[in-house]
Amino acid sequence: MVFEELEHTADVRMRISAPDLPSLFSESGFALAKTLYGPYHFETPAYSFPIEAEGKDPEELMVNFLSELLFLFETEYLVPQKITISIDSSVSGTVEGVLFDRAKHAGGIGVKGISYSGMSLAKTDTGYELIIIFDI
């Protein structure tokens, strides 16, 4: 498992690990999606949207990237299947997915925002690890 839910009284606190930064970002995007929609099976994407985010440091970049994704999910009713991004001082890429279907994607809980509280983004021996709270 690349992400796991940690204890938090009121919100959803996640630990996400990945070998490199782009995969840490895309896995974090899926962690957000599975919080919103519950576990769901892969489907061939039918829609594609560009995504971009900026930030003064890696933490801000991550919060802004996830906030952009949340905006995309809520306004386009998009359930992501594939997230392809590149990272330098900013993040840019595409999110491919299918439309929200109550029969398949109603297993989750709405996320109100991405919090900086208790957040850590660190390099580890095997890559990168993020701990982050989704406010619900």
Partner: protein, 477 residues
């Protein structure tokens, strides 16, 4: 309990200056001795962190439903001086003006033989959960008006009665809303979600008043034993969430610009009098107004359904009151012997103004403001009244709910949603949600006892219990 915490009275505790570096005032929280045993260290630290903010007056307060949040703890209250103080989205929360309202009906339990059918009808009529869509087609100009006028705008569109407006805190619209500081993105999230309940701890509940503790106040508020009521708990949906996200980013830069040292990034803030602080206040007020309109529209859907289903008249379902839980407001309070206008942040806390305040509707004024405290799915909700004690002790504030004690993940591990629903059904409570996990995460056991929390605010003198409401059926997002 942490050894540095000092007990002041049976229900009041103090976090001394020095608990975290930079505290300007002590922290004060209200808990029964029993509830105090389980207070989280994370919540204490957050309460102490708030005490480091510039311009904070008297104390950083925690209500008895205090728990670990982000920035401020949930159940946190703090007032700030108009000239030296700050405003922080971390003291309001992502869900701006998340709040509760209650309508009464002329029905009794015997008038609803098929509660399951009613709950199913409510679940089908009120858009609920992730991915639900607004029953309205709001235009950009409609939305702008809603951001300024709040509940009144919804009533003008046909969603409610004129008398609903003055029974909302702030008459359903905060002054000082600046829709121009609500981003295009926030608008894009707000338009398709207007009139939707959302998810998480948001709910719509059919309840019966099963115990009147203060007959005179109950009479004033127009509630009587055996009466069926509907309680609605939701907020400003994606619009408010986006406003919080957008302005946190702006205020993060402002924090550095104004040289404010913070112990937690989520407490990003700006002086109340700065352009950044004023922009956030205006956008927050606009979001609060959207939330009042949102609850007003959902109320209308409920009334229409009850009218059709039970043949009762729309006018016979008056709004008792509507309170905000997550908001920062300019209010007049007595501070060190003088009347001052201060900015009170309430994050997961309820205004509880005592008798005589002009902000309270005329018909309730002598009694104090109605305060609505929702329980969890299986535990009772309460109607209380604001007190002079709250004015003196907590800038007119009290608790907002029961307060979680168990995490969502551990709740899901201990019981499935089906098991929780089954157990509630045995106690005569019907639960309907889009998925079983949503029920498991909100099981009654994950919250403090609502009765104990409410008894604590009553004993502490910051509100007084008027009536208890027992849940009969609930829809969860």
């Amino acid at each position: 309990m942490n050894s540095q915490i000092q007990q002041i009275t049976k229900t009041e505790w103090e976090i001394p200056i020095g608990f975290v570096p930079g505290m300007r005032v002590p922290g004060r929280f209200f808990l029964s001795e029993n509830l105090a045993e389980n207070i989280e260290d994370g919540a204490l630290t957050q309460l102490a962190n708030v005490a480091t903010l510039p311009g904070i007056i008297r104390y950083s307060f925690g209500m008895p439903d205090i728990h670990w949040g982000y920035g401020f703890p949930i159940g946190g209250v703090a007032a700030f001086n108009a000239e030296t103080g700050i405003i922080s989205p971390g003291g309001v929360g992502f869900d701006i003006n998340c709040g509760v309202r209650m309508i009464t009906t002329p029905l009794h339990i015997s008038d609803i033989p098929d509660m399951k059918g009613l709950i199913e009808n409510l679940f089908d009529s009120v858009p609920t959960g992730v991915g639900s869509k607004s029953p309205l087609r709001l235009s950009q100009s409609n939305l702008s008006l809603m951001l300024e006028e709040g509940a009144k705008n919804a009533v003008d569109m046909g969603y409610g009665m004129e008398s609903d407006i003055r029974r909302c805190e702030e008459n359903g619209a905060m002054k000082g809303a600046l829709p121009e500081h609500v981003s295009k993105k926030a608008r894009q999230r707000g338009i398709p979600q207007c009139g939707t309940l959302g998810s998480g701890n948001h709910f719509l509940e059919v309840q019966v008043i099963d115990n009147i503790m203060d007959a005179s106040a109950a009479k004033t508020f127009g509630v009587s034993e055996g009466q069926i009521c509907v309680m609605i708990h939701c907020g400003s949906r994606g619009l408010g969430h986006q406003v919080c996200t957008d302005h946190l980013q702006i205020l993060e830069s402002a924090t550095k610009k104004y040289g404010i040292e913070l112990p937690d990034r989520q407490l990003a803030c700006a002086p109340l009098s700065s352009p950044e602080g004023e922009a956030y206040f205006g956008a927050m007020a606009a979001s609060a107004n959207y939330a009042w309109a949102n609850r007003q529209i959902i109320t209308h859907i409920v009334r229409e359904l009850f009218t059709k289903k039970f043949g009762i008249s729309y006018e016979d379902m008056p709004l008792i009151y509507d309170v905000a839980h997550n908001v920062a407001k300019w209010e007049e309070h007595d501070v060190d012997g003088s009347r001052q206008t201060v900015c009170v942040h309430r994050k997961g806390a309820t205004r509880a103004f005592g008798p005589g305040r002009v902000e309270i509707p005329q018909e309730y004024r002598a009694c104090g403001q109605p305060v609505l405290i929702p329980g969890s799915m299986g535990t009772p909700s309460y109607l209380l009244a604001g007190t002079q004690g709250a004015m003196e002790k907590t800038f007119g504030s009290t608790c907002h709910g029961s307060g979680r004690v168990q995490s969502r993940s551990s709740a899901k591990r201990s019981q499935t949603g089906e098991e929780v629903a089954e157990a509630l059904l045995k106690r005569g409570i019907i639960v309907r949600a889009p998925n079983p996990a949503a029920i498991a995460e909100e099981a009654p056991e994950v919250y403090k006892s609502s009765s104990e929390v409410v008894q604590t605010v009553h004993d502490a003198g910051i509100s007084r219990i008027v009536a208890r409401l027992r849940p009969l059926g609930v829809i969860k997002g």
